[in-house]
């Protein structure tokens, strides 16, 4: 009988474990000492909620740390902005929240946790400040404000769509955004920088853009463009464009380039092929450039 009771208890424990939500991370301290945890409210201010509504963001990631260790990490539905977190009682804790991130890497450690962009750096990421609070009985709410942390660089051709319509010598551009800040480590206050390549074509008007965390130092961003035809490189800009992009939160930098201007390109046009041949099709005037 005793043996049976033990087995039943073990089965109950197992089932409790399996009830855990899939998206919940492993909070070490809570599982070690569940009896002294407390539930606190996490309140997001109205400015954040308005911004999220516009972005169709319906959930945020919340992380709470005791020292360097994760004690709470969950993806929470936003609702009306009043969220609940379960944390150890009587501790000085640090928390931050993230919305719309590409990926959260190494969340178990505050010093290592990295908020990362997705491939192509297309996420408009919102991050709160790293906030310290005490989880004592007299405190029930932690206020957080998530702010758009990223800036944006937009590349676009100067030429009108009609001018680009008849191009046959290239069918796509790889826009190389150099020195994009693709990751931010809130615990260590460090940034990760990389080159991001965005492929664009006529369907998108040969426009391309990336989001970037703020530029942390003097390594400003710039842009190079590689011209492709059926996947193979056929030309490229002579050098990075003469623009220096300093990414700042909520700052959009638009770079206009005459993509048909041979003066920008590595492979110069010969005198004969430089002039555009033109024709009309269905009443649309188009120009065809030979690169």
């Amino acid at each position: 009988m005793k043996h049976l009771l033990s087995m039943l208890l073990f089965a109950l424990l197992l089932s409790a474990c399996s009830d855990k939500e899939n998206n919940e991370l492993e909070p070490k301290h809570i599982s070690e000492n569940p009896s002294i945890s407390t539930t606190m409210k996490l309140k997001l201010n109205a400015a954040s909620l308005t911004a999220f509504a516009a972005q169709n963001v319906s959930a945020i990631d919340v992380f709470v740390y005791l020292g360097d260790s994760l004690v709470f990490g969950k993806n929470l539905a936003l609702g009306d902005g009043n969220l609940q977190i379960e944390v150890p009682l009587g501790e000085s804790l640090k928390t931050f929240a993230v919305a719309n991130a590409g990926e959260i890497i190494d969340p178990e450690s505050l010093q290592k946790v990295l908020i990362s962009q997705d491939v192509g750096s297309q996420k408009e990421i919102y991050v709160s400040a790293l906030t310290t609070f005490m989880s004592d009985k007299t405190v029930s709410t932690v206020n957080l404000e998530l702010k758009r942390m990223v800036g944006q660089a937009v590349f676009q051709p100067v030429e009108a769509v009609e001018e680009l319509t008849g191009i046959t010598t290239f069918d796509a551009l790889d826009v190389h955004f150099n020195n994009v800040v693709i990751g931010y480590m809130p615990g260590a206050n460090r940034f990760v920088m990389d080159k991001v390549i965005v492929r664009t074509n006529m369907a998108t008007g040969f426009k391309a853009s990336v989001y970037s965390f703020p530029t942390p130092d003097a390594n400003l961003g710039n842009i190079e463009v590689v011209y492709l035809n059926e996947g193979s490189e056929v030309n490229r800009t002579l050098r990075p464009l003469s623009v220096a992009i300093k990414y700042e939160s909520s700052k959009r930098t638009v770079v206009n380039m005459p993509i048909l201007n041979p003066a920008f390109l590595a492979h110069k046009l010969s005198a004969s092929s430089r002039s555009a041949s033109s024709g009309t099709s269905s009443g649309v005037t188009f120009q065809e450039y030979q690169f």
Binding site: N45, A46, A47, T131, T132, F133, T138, V139, S140, T141, V142, N143, E145, Q152, V158, N178, N179, K195, D217, A218, N219, L220, N222, I223, T237, L238, R239, P240, L241, S242, V243, A244, S250, K251, R252, T253, V254, V255, N256, M257, P258, N261, A263, F264
Partner: protein, 613 residues
């Protein structure tokens, strides 16, 4: 039959009257069909399917309200002149309750809860026949004030923070785009269960007229019974800017002082701000230069060129706005001519930054000087980690050393320090500093340009031109020193330079002793000297054995008096009308732009021309 005739007659009458009306309408009304709507200068349009009616239309002459229309469709108006007002949030700003208000009386009031942005156009005149498109720009008239406590220590004596914000503008008059300048108190209470820790509250308020007419902020800290425990107030008005967030951060619990004097104000854009660049055609690169892309390692490229026997000169071209870093040792043994040139930039754009770890040096130690034609740095923001060029027994002979259009900020030590164990083992024929700015020099016992004073290690021609030497500490080391062993002919030119020493005390600007020369030609003209001076101390020039001289047209800022200018009667610099603080934009920080465009310095083009722009 009679009935049918009457029926027919009746219908003809109706038809006639309808036709009459239609004709009259066609004659008296016109259709408004083309709108260009902007929001803060950027094109704006109503999203499809939304029933918002952004247009409010008033008679121009009487101000009477005519209609509230959507911008989805065309609409007709009786011929005449109208005032059009537009807002992207019409139902909030001009609700139905005041919809029919005459334009002359239409005032958008400060929202009592300070939670309503005001974006509304001017009252734009638009007259029939409405053939030209209607251009109308909806402009943000409000910004957001955020009060934020920075406390980490709670104060449990209060449970509520009541913010009382006194605004000078209580409303906005649509007809003439003017504000109602009547003070108004906006009050909001916020419970704090952490005794002020994490207190944050936002107020959307009309933008302020100027700094003096900002909003006043008072914070009343209330206990559980609603009694005021303490009142604290920001000691100066806060400015509110359209479409921006003014973040005011302060400590609520850090002091009992009713006046909050320690706080920070940060203005942040609320929405996306936009910058637009048109990529310029690729810049021209001087012939023979190797261009470094931003992610190229300059050490690798330099070493490859240095070790390539086919390459006679190392020529590197650096991209503007990009940082490059020479590791310790890369430049410690220059063996061939070196040109490092940055891309030229327009005013305000960052130059290429070149950081250098360790000393730069060149030459051999064989007793036969290595001959090098040119060492050249141009268009760069240079950041050496220690003495920039430092030589210890290396043997070389260089025709030209050129620093042009470079900035040195916080140079940690000297720029050029020669030392050798034999005469004529280190020879420079021409040394040029042109269009360079040294900001926050901190010279100890070594001069900026210091030669060995035991052996003959000559620089025969020294030119400092169109440059700035701004020193936190100058001391007696001087900007040029130890020329006393130079043989043969020496020429020194110091022209159109601005020299500032902030430290005061025993300073020496130039120690130009040509004791061992056959001839010493000296030109010192159009310079401006400034800084902090102590009476009875300091020397401008120490001169010896000058064979020909042109020391003219030099100025010093009023109040800067040295013990000894070191020149002949008639050669002394002339005092400017204004003292340092009034003449320069920010001399302490190294911004030496001339504020007074009528000053003699500006009119006579004295000092570094960089600051006269």
């Amino acid at each position: 039959m009679k009935k049918n005739i009457l029926y027919l007659f009746f219908h003809v009458l109706i038809l006639a009257s309808v036709c009459g009306c239609a004709k009259q309408d066609a004659y008296d009304s016109s259709v408004v069909r083309q709108y260009n709507i902007y929001l803060n200068g950027k094109p704006w349009q109503l999203n499809p399917g939304i029933s918002t009616k952004p247009f409010f239309i008033y008679k121009d002459d009487t101000g009477d309200f005519i209609a509230n229309y959507t911008s989805h469709y065309r609409f007709s108006l009786q011929n005449g002149s109208y005032r059009f007002v537009a807002s992207p949030m019409p139902a909030n700003l001009i609700p139905d309750s005041v919809l029919s208000t005459n334009l002359k009386d239409l005032v958008i009031k400060q929202a009592p809860r300070a939670d309503q942005h005001v974006q509304i156009s001017a009252a734009v005149l638009y007259s029939s026949p409405f053939e030209q498109p209607l251009h109308i720009d909806m402009i943000s008239r409000t910004g957001r004030l955020r009060l934020q406590a920075t406390d980490t220590k709670s104060d449990r004596s209060y449970t509520t923070v009541r913010a009382v914000v006194t605004v000078k503008r209580s409303g906005y008059r649509v007809i003439d785009e003017r504000y109602v300048e009547t003070p108004l108190e906006v009050t909001r209470s916020m419970a704090t269960d952490r005794g002020g820790v994490n207190y944050t509250d936002d107020f959307v308020l009309f933008n302020t007229k100027n700094e003096e007419n900002g909003v006043d902020v008072r914070l009343e800290l209330l206990d559980g019974t609603g009694s005021i425990v303490r009142t604290r107030k920001l000691d100066a008005p806060i400015s509110i800017f359209s479409d921006s967030l003014t973040l005011v951060q302060f400590g609520l619990n850090d002091s009992e002082d009713p006046m909050i004097q320690k706080y920070s104000v940060t203005v942040l854009p609320e929405n996306w701000t936009e910058e637009e660049y048109d990529a310029e055609e690729p810049f021209s690169i001087p012939e023979g230069f190797t261009v470094l892309a931003p992610d190229d390692d300059i050490n690798t490229v330099y070493n490859a060129l240095k070790n390539d026997n086919e390459v006679s000169e190392v020529k590197l071209f650096l991209s503007a706005g990009t940082s490059y870093f020479f590791a310790n040792g890369t430049l410690s043994n220059i063996v061939k001519p070196l040109h490092i040139v940055g891309q030229q930039t327009a005013a305000g754009q960052p130059a290429a930054t070149l950081a250098i770890q360790g000393n730069v040096s060149m030459g051999t130690n064989t007793g036969t000087p290595l001959k090098i034609s040119t060492i050249r740095f141009e268009n760069l923001d240079l950041k050496p980690s220690a003495d920039f060029f430092r030589f210890r027994d290396q043997d070389f002979e260089v025709d030209n050393v050129i620093f042009r259009n470079c900035e040195f900020r916080d140079l940690p030590a000297t720029m050029w320090y020669q030392q050798s164990d034999g005469d004529l083992m280190q020879i420079i024929h021409n040394f040029l500093i042109e269009d360079c700015r040294f900001i926050n020099l901190n010279l100890g016992s070594s001069g900026l340009l210091g030669l060995g004073n035991r052996q003959i290690l000559p620089i025969y021609n020294i030119v400092f031109k169109n440059s700035t030497f701004h020193a936190k500490t100058l001391g007696t080391a001087a900007l040029i020193t130890n020329l006393n062993r130079i043989d043969r002919n020496l020429s020194v030119t110091i022209e159109n330079c601005t020299m500032v020493n902030l430290a005061g005390g025993d300073m020496k600007f130039f120690d130009l002793n040509g004791a061992n020369t056959d001839a010493f030609h000296l030109t010192v003209k159009n310079n401006l000297i400034s800084g902090n001076a102590d009476a009875g101390r300091g020397t401008w020039l120490i001169l010896n054995k000058v064979s020909s001289r042109d020391i003219t047209n030099n100025y010093y800022t009023s109040g800067f008096v040295l013990n000894n200018w070191g020149v002949l009667t008639g050669e002394e610099p002339v005092a400017t009308l204004l003292p340092m603080a009034a003449l320069f934009e920010d001399p302490i920080a190294g911004d030496l732009h001339i504020k007074d465009k009528t000053s003699e310095v500006y009119l006579h083009k004295i000092g570094d021309p960089h600051w006269l722009k």
